[in-house]
């Protein structure tokens, strides 16, 4: 449990630091409001068309392929750290595992799901 105490401390400091800067800004900065300063303003360009535009489904397929290979990493990691204690059999097994997923990648590639649109 001890190494996680460091991560917890890191989390607390990481949350405190930006909070402290914001607090310091409100505490230290001079405040002289006048009507022009407090006026509501808008910047940036006007949106062309609707704000919520229709994205292409292609982006979903990129995310999908990422998810599948993200999970492959979950299975690769225990295999990799235990590799020295395992024999040739484990290598063949992982090659089968990766080969099956490679077939999926090949399918996605042949269907043009990997090309950028």
């Amino acid at each position: 449990m001890k190494p996680y105490a460091v991560i917890g401390a890191f989390l607390v400091i990481g949350l405190l630091l930006p909070l402290m800067t914001v607090m310091a800004a409100t505490l230290l900065s001079p405040r002289k409001p006048n009507p022009i300063k407090q006026d509501i303003y808008e910047c940036g360009l006007k949106t062309v068309g609707e704000t919520w535009v229709q994205f292409k489904v292609q982006y979903y397929i990129y995310a999908l392929i990422f998810v599948v290979f993200d999970i492959e990493v979950v299975f690769l990691y225990p295999w990799a750290v235990a590799y020295n204690q395992l024999g040739l059999f484990a290598l063949v097994e992982m090659l089968i595992f990766a080969g099956i997923l490679l077939a999926g990648l090949l399918y996605a590639w042949r269907k043009g799901a990997l090309s950028w649109v």
Binding site: Y60, V67, V68, D70, I71, V74
Partner: protein, 104 residues
């Protein structure tokens, strides 16, 4: 032994499961329903890991099963969202009350 009793974890998992079930059954948006189901799967994983920790800590099965559940959850989310996108393309809605062609 840990100072947190097993029942605390099981209660958190039970509450999370019930909240997820509520989200899955009450939402009108199909993606909201899917998110509720993900919560329920997370609650199941808490149970699996808690039982592994308190009852079967020398074995692998508890955590290994949780890894498989996470894999199945990802596959399920991928296919379910693809279905929702396909329905959205043809029916122009993801409101489950309007998708009732198979209802009699």
């Amino acid at each position: 032994m840990s100072s947190v009793p097993l029942s605390w974890y099981l209660i958190v998992a039970a509450l999370l499961f019930s909240i997820g079930a509520y989200g899955a059954l009450a939402r009108r948006n199909a993606i909201g329903i899917l998110m509720g189901i993900e919560l329920m799967l997370n609650a199941v994983n808490i149970n699996l890991v808690a039982f592994w920790r308190y009852i079967e800590v020398t074995g692998l099965a508890g955590q290994l099963f949780a890894v498989i559940v996470i894999t199945v959850a990802a596959a399920e989310a991928a296919v379910a969202l693809a279905l929702i996108l396909a329905i959205y393309r043809t029916r122009d809605t993801v409101n489950v009350e309007e998708i009732d062609l198979l209802k009699w």
